[in-house]
Amino acid sequence: MLSYFIKRLGLAAAIVSVAMFLLFCMIYLIPGDPASVALGPRATEEMRAALREKMGLNQPVLVQFWNFYIGAWTGDLGDEVLSGRPVTTVVLEQLPYTLALIVGGITWSVALGIPLGCWAAVSRGSWADRVVGILSVAVIAVPSFVIAIYALLIFAVELRWLPAIGAGEPGNLGDQLTHLILPSLAVGLGWVGYIARMVRASMLEVLEASHIRTARAFGLPDRTITYRYALSIAILPTVTLLGVGIGQMLSSAVFAEIVFARPGVGKLVYDAILTRNFPIVTGTVLITTVLFVLLNLLADLIIGALDPRVRSSF
């Protein structure tokens, strides 16, 4: 178990290193001089040169990468161009908002997707199955920013049930939660569809298995068979899917944060791109990469906890 965990952490570190390399190449190849952007159009050539020197832009490429790489592992992602604050601090300030949004999105998708998928599988071929099937495809097909805008218009502007913008009053948990409902729905609704379809498909497969026939032959109640004997296995591919899906939710979060004017890393990176604030872009992408890799590791550990066969191979 421990050796498995260490192996997986090593792999995660390798993935993050590759991501760092790609990120560095991308930033390096983008035209435009961060020093000129930072100083504005009225800066003199000397000022630009001084800043380039300070940011290390005059050094050889490999040295620049090495400094970036070592700095990143020690938590130093450089300073922001505009205010000069450390990038790590800026991103970590915003991260909890996005994390809350993602967790909210996962909660929506799991809370709705799993029961719907189960229901569709158990009543296969019925009208319920068809309605769930059509709705799933519909919510998968509609981009999350469209859902975000309509959710905002209907529930916040027209019905006035829920607040429209912001993340709620700091320290007031209830207020923060009500501010979370709509944006997290926008992030998670598409995933309700994915998960419902996934759960339906794997439930149908598991329900055909011979151990389910054994359970029926012992006269176990349908409810026990569906939820304890079948769903506990059918849920496993869904957990893996969610692990991968977090990446997509992170990009949905950008739209949700812009539409609902919420703070968060999505909003941060969007503003940073518009202002060519490259250290922020790099830092945000890197930290979300780490987040993604860690959440995937968590998904694998959850599967281990749910499936004794996987656990014993750890």
Partner: protein
């Protein structure tokens, strides 16, 4: 008393190419405390028969005609699903063919054995003790520790013994064993058969033992039912069937058993031809197209001829003993 009496049972599946008559006029009894072997090649309707008895036919399958009478009082073909569920497990327990997949992979053995006792008024501790007792009976080493283990931590033979322990723990009146030893290797097969016979006598239940292994049937069973293409072509005691087969199919089937070959041969005998398409059953004898004693009479449905002593064969020429074929 007869534990199970099947009378003129018919089962049809609706398929895209029309109705498939999977069981046709199937009749036989499973008397109390006896082991009845059901034998036949793949696709002869053995599994359909089990599913019909358990009320677990696929959605496109239905019983249309005939009766399955359990313990002289419950007509299984018309029993409401909830009553049927109450019989499955406590009264009719089943051991399936595939020991690898028969147990739930993510639930511990102890938990599974606890779950199937959900109707019992015993306390959790007593139920677990009962599970341990049964596991010891099927010779699972360190039975108490086995409770917290998962199916993948046991070998195939052990899994099958656990499945048998689970079935017999219910103390059923009827145990249905669907090829329980087919997936096991020869040595395990023998021990499993011996164990099954031993436990059957201890618990005193009737057994319906499905197999295509004639040696196992001869060893274990009291009575034999020979099935071919969804029909019972011959039934009787083990002695009657093995010593004096009256249906040409039974005779050919016995010839094909490698264990019966008296001398070394390169060519094992086979029955030429194939099972007819069950969507278009012939009006006459179902075996006519492969039979070496076929005559013009066989184009009419053959009668169930009573040879005496409960020995019945569905064939026109059943009155005369089948020729013991030439052993190649």
């Amino acid at each position: 008393m007869t534990t199970l009496r099947i009378d003129n049972l018919n089962v049809t599946f609706s398929t895209e190419a029309g109705p498939l008559h999977a069981l046709k006029n199937v009749s036989f009894d499973v008397p109390e405390n006896r082991i009845v072997g059901i034998v036949g090649e793949s696709g002869c309707g053995k599994s359909t028969l089990i599913n019909a008895i358990l009320g677990l036919l696929a959605d496109n399958g239905s019983v249309d005609g005939g009766s399955i009478l359990f313990e002289g009082q419950d007509e299984l073909t018309t029993l409401p699903p909830s009553r049927m569920r109450d019989l499955r497990g406590p009264r009719i327990a089943t051991v399936f063919q595939d020991p690898m997949g028969a147990l739930n992979p993510v639930i511990s053995v102890g938990k599974q054995m606890l779950n199937i006792q959900y109707r019992s008024p015993l306390s959790k501790e007593e139920k677990l003790n009962r599970a341990v007792e049964m596991l010891e009976l099927v010779r699972i080493p360190d039975a108490r520790a086995a409770l917290v283990r998962y199916p993948h931590q046991f070998s195939g033979g052990m899994k099958q013994r656990i499945a048998i322990a689970m079935a017999l723990m219910m103390e059923p009146a009827l145990l249905i064993a669907d090829e329980p030893t087919t997936a096991l290797d020869a040595t395990l097969e023998v021990t499993t058969i011996e164990l099954l016979k031993d436990l059957q006598q201890k618990i005193g239940c009737s057994v319906m033992f499905i197999s295509h292994h004639l040696g196992v049937i001869a060893e274990l069973c009291d009575d034999v039912v020979v099935m071919y293409a969804g029909e019972v072509v011959e039934r009787g005691t083990v002695r009657q069937i093995f010593q004096d087969p009256r249906h040409p199919y039974t005779a050919r089937l016995l010839e094909c058993d490698p264990a019966r070959q008296s001398e070394r041969t390169r060519n094992l005998p086979t029955i030429p031809g194939e099972i007819p398409d069950l969507r278009a059953r012939p009006t006459g004898c179902i075996f006519a197209n492969r039979c070496d004693r076929v005559s013009d009479a066989c184009s009419a449905p053959p009668p169930d001829k009573d040879i005496g002593g409960g020995h019945i064969a569905r064939c026109f020429v059943a009155d005369t003993p089948a020729e013991t074929g030439v052993t190649a």
